[in-house]
């Protein structure tokens, strides 16, 4: 197998930390940018929650913001609310979660776990980060100028109703983000196919790498489609009419555009939008499978089944997008097909749960903070995945569509599962990336103080949604049928504030450990994968000599091994002994 193209270690500060081509530095750049946006998006969520709990109650003016903006009665104007929900959604998905689970995990782990010196295209990798950086600047500008069509940006609203430059910048930011992800995806796929160290066969790859590989493949398939869709949307704002039908009257003025189809955008958007969920969660599934094995000291149960099921989900995710459009007057033939295909996703998902529980079964479970968050994912993803069935079933979806039920569902999958995945990964790989351990006691407190209020926040949304509470409304108290449920909004807001406060523990732990944490050894968790064979943090070029891989990634607690793990490069037990041992029982 080919070697990573060698590049010399840069000597200047700028070359080493800013315009670096080292995959580890680029990964950390993605991590820090992602964490910044995570805090920003989280603060926005709290402001949204404040508005929903006390929309017209003069005794609860929004702290700080109301004063800065000089809002009458201390409450935000609805246009501001619209910008907030748009920005919270797009920032969290594209600028917080994506850079952490794909940018950080992908860049940092792929070369280290497959035994390569760097990515296949280090310069493209650097470019990928800087395009992402420009995209995030556009996003911040969009936030300042105001963009308001939701994260889905359906036309005609995204074309006609928000004349400010903010919406243009928003579209541009997303398109650039797509370009950056595409560069990353090309790099990930090429690196995993070409640069695996000798002996690192597909069947020996860690499951995190499998998850990242599938994510990159999916990105390659769907990003060009959304890029085209967004490009046409931008052109429509400048006068064309791909999506604008004849004769629209906006603000009493007749538009001279015409001849386009409104639903075309929705098809293009969801062809990307549905797989996007899997793009984000596939690496997390990999991380869950891996961390459960590490901290149960047991092989990843049903490795092959997990890999196959990930592949099945990648395939299915490309042909179910129509379930987002059941209420748009879809022909029954089409909606039945989409419904059937969507429900099928539950089968591979069930296999994941079987394998995760199988890994825990008869294990030797160490409840470290990364493990607590991983077990947390199994819990919250069970809720997130199962509530997907309500939306798959067309007859139920017609009722719960665009209510808080959907909001609860995708927050359990994205905000809870993927966020827990990010946090678990940070706790787990922090010692490798920064050479110091994070504080375990703080980590455990962080888990419980996050896990409990999080249920209050998102489970409450199911109950509200079942009652018909519409999403994206700035003032629920206007509706008689929602008024008895307003106390729920207040309850959720209190839980959200607690959830937000708990993250201060994480920030404190992160910053403190970065400078004063206990020094980490090479392999603090006793794990088997290659990144733990190099110093923490690994030097430029990662490995002194190209490693030779002798076993798969999950040889934990082999009966004849001297300790309860064998690193992938170790060859102490004769080949074939493990098979014999497995059959003996």
């Amino acid at each position: 197998m080919a070697e990573a193209r060698g590049h010399h270690e840069p000597r200047t500060f700028l070359g080493r930390y800013i315009f670096s081509r080292d995959h580890k530095i680029i990964g950390i750049q993605f991590l820090f940018t992602g964490l910044f946006f995570l805090l920003l998006g989280g603060l926005m969520a709290l402001v949204i929650r404040w508005q929903l709990a006390w929309p017209s109650d003069e005794t609860h003016p929004l702290p700080l913001l109301a004063k800065w903006y000089g809002w009458e009665g201390g409450h935000m104007p609805p246009t501001f609310y619209l910008t907030l929900i748009t920005m919270h959604g797009s920032i969290m998905i594209f600028f917080a979660i994506t850079p952490i689970v794909i940018g950080f995990l992908g860049n940092y782990l792929i070369p280290l776990q497959i035994g390569a010196k760097d990515m296949a295209f280090p310069t493209l990798n650097m470019l990928s980060y800087w395009v992402f950086f420009v995209a995030s600047v556009c996003m911040i500008l969009a936030l300042i100028f105001g963009a308001g069509a939701g994260w889905t940006a359906y036309p005609p609203l995204s074309v006609v109703a928000t004349p400010s430059i903010g919406q243009d910048l928003w579209i541009l930011a997303l398109a650039l983000m797509g370009v950056s992800s595409l560069m990353g995806a090309i790099n990930y796929v090429t690196t995993i196919i070409q640069l695996r160290a000798p002996g690192m066969t597909w069947g020996r790859l860690p499951l995190t790498i499998w998850g990242l590989f599938y994510t990159a493949v999916l990105n390659l398939a769907v990003l060009p489609v959304i890029a085209a869709g967004l490009f046409l949307l931008l052109l429509d704002r400048w006068g064309t009419s791909f999506y604008i039908p004849e004769g629209l009257i906006v603000n009493g003025q007749r538009l001279d555009q015409g001849g386009g189809a409104v639903l075309l955008y929705q098809h293009l958007f969801w062809f990307f939008g549905h797989p996007e969920v899997y793009i984000l969660i596939l690496p997390v599934w990999g991380v869950v499978s891996e961390l459960l094995a590490v901290f149960s000291r047991k092989p990843a149960f049903g490795y092959k089944a997990t890999v196959i099921c990930m592949g099945i989900i990648v395939g299915l995710s490309l042909i179910v997008w129509g379930h987002h459009m059941f209420t748009a007057g879809m022909a029954p033939m089409l909606s039945k097909t989409f419904m059937t295909l969507t429900t099928l996703i539950s089968i591979p998902s069930a296999v994941f749960f079987l394998n995760w529980l199988g890994t825990l079964w008869k294990g030797d479970i160490h409840l470290t903070s990364p493990m607590l968050f991983t077990l947390g994912i199994v819990f919250v993803f069970a809720i997130g995945g199962l509530t997907g069935l309500f939306h798959a079933a067309e007859a139920v979806d017609l009722y719960v569509h665009d209510t808080y039920f959907v909001v609860g569902h995708f927050h359990y999958t994205l905000a809870a599962s993927v966020l827990f995945g990010s946090i678990a990964s940070i706790y787990y790989w922090f010692p490798k990336a920064f050479g110091r351990m994070m504080n375990e006691t703080l980590g455990k407190w962080h888990f419980w103080l996050t896990f409990i209020p999080l249920q209050g926040v998102f489970f409450g949304m199911f109950i509200q949604g079942a009652h018909g509470h519409m999403r994206r409304i700035a003032d629920p108290t206007l509706y008689d049928f929602l008024r008895p449920w307003q106390s729920y909004n207040v309850f959720i807001t209190y839980c959200a504030l607690a959830l937000g406060a708990a993250q201060l523990l994480f920030v404190a732990n992160f910053v403190y450990s970065l400078f004063a944490g206990r020094k980490a050894e090479r392999n603090p968790w006793g794990a088997t994968t290659l990144e733990w064979t190099v110093p923490s943090p690994p030097p430029h070029g990662n490995f002194e000599a190209t490693p030779v891989i002798r076993r798969w990634a999950y040889d934990y607690s082999l009966p004849e091994a001297p300790r309860d793990y064998l690193v992938q490069t170790e060859d102490e037990v004769p080949v074939g002994a493990e098979v014999a041992a497995a059959q003996k029982r």
């Binding site: 819990f379 509530t387 009722y399 497995a582």
Partner: protein, 262 residues
């Protein structure tokens, strides 16, 4: 197959069989309303509510199974000094058998069950849909941020001079099928009456349809379910369900009012 697998396999399959049979029985028993769903005033809403409850029941059982196993394993197999985990890759034929069994159970008891019920319900609703020629027809047009409600007037035709147009107030007869033709003149809205279990997008450039029959005289709220701009939250209408005579009287009032304005 080893014997120690037989008991869990048998109890598992048994539990899931009960799971597949119980909800239909429950639904047939006519659970009209549970506290988490709002009051239903339509003749067709029970279809949605029943399927909602069935999915809720199935997912609750599956969730309970996962969480019980999760907690049990974490407690039972937590780290103890001098204890080693079992080396088990989970790739032997017995594991394949368990995986396939699980897949089949999920496919039949959950997936096909839900798909089938949803199809039957929606087909039934579509079959009972009123004839546009003879039914009580209302034309609803969404605009930022109002519902424009149009009645055909005495000639029964839309787009003629005697059409009656109102804003954000819709009167419909009780005990009669009402056909709603929906469109929008600017952005996408969604015609949404939770207490009638009705939701249909108002898409500019095309027409969508939905029908309902209200069971008793009542006043309900019409909301917009699709984000349509800053005023989305206040795009609220009123639906008054009353006797046919009262609707006619109200329509006459509207007509006189409209004449006076002209």
């Amino acid at each position: 197959m080893q014997r120690r697998w037989l008991i869990p396999l048998a109890t598992g399959t048994g539990a899931w069989t009960i799971l597949a049979i119980a909800p239909p029985c429950w639904a047939a028993g006519g659970v009209k309303r549970v506290w988490w769903l709002p009051e239903d005033y339509s003749t067709t809403g029970y279809h949605f509510d029943n399927l909602f409850n069935i999915v809720l029941f199935e997912t609750a059982v599956a969730f309970a199974a996962v969480v019980i196993a999760l907690i049990y394993f974490v407690v039972r197999y937590r780290h103890r000094e001098g204890h080693r985990a079992v080396y088990e890759r989970g790739d032997r034929p017995i594991h394949l058998a368990i995986t396939v069994t699980l897949a089949l159970i999920v496919f039949i008891a959950i997936d096909m069950n839900i798909v089938h019920r949803s199809n039957v319900s929606l087909a039934e609703i579509a079959e009972q849909a009123p004839d546009p020629e003879s039914a009580f027809v209302v034309f609803v047009t969404g605009e930022q941020f109002n519902w424009v409600i149009t009645y055909p007037g005495t000639d029964g035709q839309f787009g003629t001079l005697d059409d009656i147009e109102t804003r954000n107030e819709m009167h419909v007869p009780v005990g009669e099928k009402v056909l709603v033709r929906i469109t929008s003149r600017d952005v996408i809205h969604s015609f949404n009456i939770p207490q009638l279990r009705v939701k249909m997008d108002a898409v500019p450039g095309m027409e969508t349809r939905v029908w309902f029959e209200v069971t008793e005289p009542t006043k309900l709220e019409l909301a917009c379910a699709e984000l349509c701009g800053w005023g989305h939250y206040m795009m609220k209408g009123r639906v008054v369900a009353e006797s046919r005579e009262a609707v006619e009287r109200w329509l006459q009032e509207q007509e006189q009012f409209q004449e006076a304005m002209r």
